[in-house]
């Protein structure tokens, strides 16, 4: 019987994204919701990896339906619940294995052998809002018994911790796991302990519809048995869905002797299911399970991947001689109280307007006369003039004094400047970025993925992906306002990972002499790294000198138009470049055949009992002394295991 499922994201109710699918498996719905939330960065639900609940309502035909993803992890379910009736699928956790306890149905007593046909849409109890689910209708108790007397009831589910699967044995058994209330905040499941379920009916779980399997297939049950049917106290309704799952709603104690004293007017719901359908269901959900308590407690679970916490390697040992001490010492940023600023010299923060006034004043006869008393060259009174791409007073107003007349030597000029004191704050917080994995695999690291950082006034620098991946990198600039030099620090918390040097202060030529020095400075900057010239001159080797000059000239020409990844950019040119840092990821585009895993497998490197494996497998140097076979046979087995076998 075909059915339609409509479900929606209700994170943002006003912009809920709806999905509709025909006959979807539960796994496909989970995947789609999972993909959606992963893409939107809100919730990451990876099948069995995280614990949580998917809430969705199944409906059939055109009656519609709504659904939402509810309470993944510790979220508040009610916030995500639109009005309506919802069904829930418990995902569980990947570190658990479920022991599903079943009992075969035999000789169920039903004192009111009236079965209401759901398909009778015109019947007295039909509510057009209820889903129309099945045309398989059982009209009599005899027919119902014939169809379901060999079905099963799930009488309980116990969960066992499965984090140490490979060493499970009769003497080293799994321990029972009791779900915490983090699994679900919704009142139905809060504080519920599966292991405490001792009877199959009653108000054990909630809503007056007790069943140990309730969290797992309530979605289906509520597709076929609606809340409204509970208002018919004298009927027992049996409906069959496409999975051949029977749901029977009894009314009153009399209809089922096992119900005992029931809450909610003696109403209860029992579900009957064939073992094949139950198995299908559990497999569809992806819950590792077994019907055998022996397997649940003491046997490795075939085909079940052990739970490995993210980032925690398993079966890995060290060299044996290390201290194992990986405690960090916090690296502390220094805050010097004395700096070179304003020692022998004096620094002023000036505007371009005031610089213009100073320029005019420098060539007045009064100034030239006065200054010559101290210096041979008037320009020697000015040590340097540099431009910075920020307001010096705005950055640290505490260490920039009030505007005053500029004094050069003993000459007071008409230009005004703000004196900068020694403690000027040279730190700039340049922001931070969290670098996340893209593939979640070795492809996120070298040599496949490259990570570079562009730093203003420094250039583009390489970062080691292994050092910055999954970390939040903070960038701090330290600016020496007296020389214009800068240092960029890359921090991971209190770990200083990288430092890069650069130059931010742009020299302003004051006079022709000063301009010549500026040009020299620029040339030296461009020639940084051109040590071949110096070496060639020292060796008096004209070939080396000529070659170096030529290559350096090309390099300088190239740097006029391109970002230099290794050196320092021309200071004035970088004013035109981006002023914020950014990260450049170079990621590989993996070519992965869909049958790659089945054909080659993936790297594994764990110790396992081979009976726990399925699919293509390669073994590292197998030891076969427990196999009683001839030498040639053992050699064949060894070769085959090493080159690859397939476990069915």
């Amino acid at each position: 019987m075909a059915y339609t499922v409509t479900y929606s994201d209700v994170k943002d109710k006003s912009n809920a994204k709806k999905y509709t699918a025909q006959n979807p498996s539960i796994a496909s719905i989970i995947k789609q919701l999972n993909d959606f939330y992963s893409a939107n960065g809100e919730i990451k639900l990876e099948g069995m990896t995280n614990q949580g609940l998917v809430c969705c309502k199944f409906s059939t035909g055109s009656s519609g339906g709504k659904a939402g993803l509810a309470n993944i992890g510790t979220g508040i379910a009610s916030e995500y619940y639109p009005t309506g009736y919802y069904a829930n699928i418990e995902i569980g956790t990947s570190k658990l294995i479920a022991h599903v306890k079943v009992t075969q149905v035999k000789n169920i007593t039903i004192s009111t052998p009236f079965i209401y046909p759901l398909v009778n849409k015109t019947g007295a109890n039909w509510n057009s809002n209820y889903p129309y689910f099945s045309d398989t209708v059982v009209y009599s108790l005899a027919a119902w018994r014939a169809a379901h007397d060999t079905d099963y009831i799930v009488t309980g589910i116990d969960f066992y911790d499965n984090t140490n699967d490979t060493s499970i044995s009769v003497t080293n058994q799994r321990t029972k796991f009791t779900p915490s209330n983090l699994i679900y905040n919704y009142d139905v499941y809060q504080n519920m302990s599966f292991s405490s379920v001792s009877r199959i009916d009653g108000n054990m779980i909630g809503d007056g519809q007790g069943d140990a399997l309730y969290p797992l297939y309530r979605n289906f049950i509520e597709s076929i048995v609606n809340n409204g049917f509970q208002d018919s106290p004298s009927v027992c309704q049996v409906f069959i869905n496409s999975l051949q799952t029977g749901a029977c709603l009894y009314a009153g104690d009399a209809v089922n002797t096992s119900c005992g004293a029931l809450a909610n007017n003696g109403q209860c719901l029992k579900t009957f299911i064939s073992l094949n359908a139950l198995t299908f269901w559990l497999n569809s959900i992806g819950l590792p399970f077994t019907y055998s308590v022996t397997e649940a407690t003491s046997k490795p679970t075939t085909g079940f991947t052990d739970f490995v916490p993210s980032g925690q390697p398993s079966d890995t040992t060290g060299g044996g001689s290390g201290t194992g001490n990986n405690m960090n010492d916090d690296i502390i940023q220094n805050s010097p109280s004395i700096t070179p600023v304003s020692s022998f010299n004096k620094c002023y923060a000036m505007t371009q307007y005031e610089l213009g006034i100073l320029s005019t004043y420098l060539w007045t006869s009064t100034f030239l006369t006065d200054i010559k008393l101290l210096f041979n060259n008037p320009a020697e009174g000015i040590i340097s003039c540099k431009m910075f791409p920020f307001s010096l007073t705005a950055h640290d107003s505490n260490h920039v004094g009030a505007s005053e007349a500029l004094k050069i030597g003993n000459v007071t000029t008409t230009a005004m400047g703000c004196p900068i004191s020694s403690g000027y704050n040279a730190y700039f917080s340049m922001g931070s970025i969290t670098i996340d994995e893209y593939y979640g695999s070795a492809m996120d690291y070298a040599p496949y993925t490259t990570i570079q950082i562009y730093l203003p006034y420094i250039g583009i620098k390489d970062l080691d992906p292994a050092e910055v991946m999954n970390r939040t990198i903070s960038i701090t600039y330290i600016v020496d306002i007296s020389t214009g030099a800068i240092i960029a620090e890359l921090w991971n918390g209190t770990q200083l990972l990288y430092t890069f040097e650069g130059r931010m202060g742009i020299d302003i030529p004051i006079s022709s002499t000063n301009a010549a020095q500026f040009a020299t400075s620029m040339a030296l900057t461009a020639l940084s790294g051109a040590s071949g010239i110096i070496a060639g001159v020292a060796a008096e080797n004209p070939l080396i000198v000529a070659g170096s000059v030529l290559s350096t000239a090309k390099s300088v020409a190239g740097n006029q138009f391109h970002i230099n990844k290794a050196g320092i950019n021309s200071p004035s040119a970088v004013l035109y470049m981006p002023q914020n840092p950014y990260i450049i990821f170079g990621r590989p585009i993996q070519s992965l055949a869909s049958t790659f895993g089945a054909t080659h497998g993936f790297p594994c490197n764990v110790s396992k009992q081979l009976s726990t494996l399925t699919g293509y497998t390669e073994i590292e140097s197998p030891i076969l002394n427990s196999i009683s076979a001839t030498k040639d046979e053992l050699e064949q087995i060894k070769n085959l295991l090493e080159t690859g076998v397939i476990f069915a």
Partner: protein, 152 residues
């Protein structure tokens, strides 16, 4: 001596092959031979011609049928080679070994020499907003110059 003839629908590398029994025949060893690659004869049976797998209970071993030769007098000659994986399936599955590669249990952070990547590369840039430097917003009234002069 009996030999059970099967059709094997699984790859030779599979441990736990899917076998469909064709028939049980009597055989005679052709000559002295190894149990690794025995040769035997049997009465002609049409089902054997399309079969590819056998079990010899006396040897307690499974075999691939490598070749079938039709002999005179309605007899067949079978060239067999042992399938050690199926023969020692139980003992092999009881082994605990270092699993180098597997289709379902894996560690994606281990480098894989089999991986291939395209010559193309995906480039992504992620900005880090700081706003500390703003040359575009400077004016002639912004104190952005540092003048260092000799102290008087």
């Amino acid at each position: 001596m009996p030999i059970t003839i099967y059709n094997n629908a699984s790859d030779k590398k599979v441990i736990g092959k899917t076998l469909t029994q064709v028939s049980v025949e009597s055989y005679i060893l052709l000559d002295d031979c190894s149990i690794i690659n025995p040769q035997l004869t049997m009465k002609y049976a049409s089902g054997v011609l399309t079969a590819n797998y056998a079990y010899i209970a006396e040897f307690n071993r499974y075999y691939f049928i490598d070749n079938v030769t039709v002999l005179k007098a309605s007899r067949l000659k079978l060239d067999l080679s042992i399938d050690v994986l199926e023969t020692y399936k139980t003992q092999i599955k009881a082994l605990t070994c270092i699993v180098k590669r597997n289709a379902n249990v894996f560690n994606k952070y281990l480098d894989d020499p089999y991986f291939q990547s395209s010559a193309k590369k995906q480039i992504q840039t992620k900005s880090i907003a700081s706003g500390q430097f703003y040359p575009n917003s400077l004016s002639d009234a912004t104190p952005c110059f540092v003048l260092t002069i000799a102290k008087g």
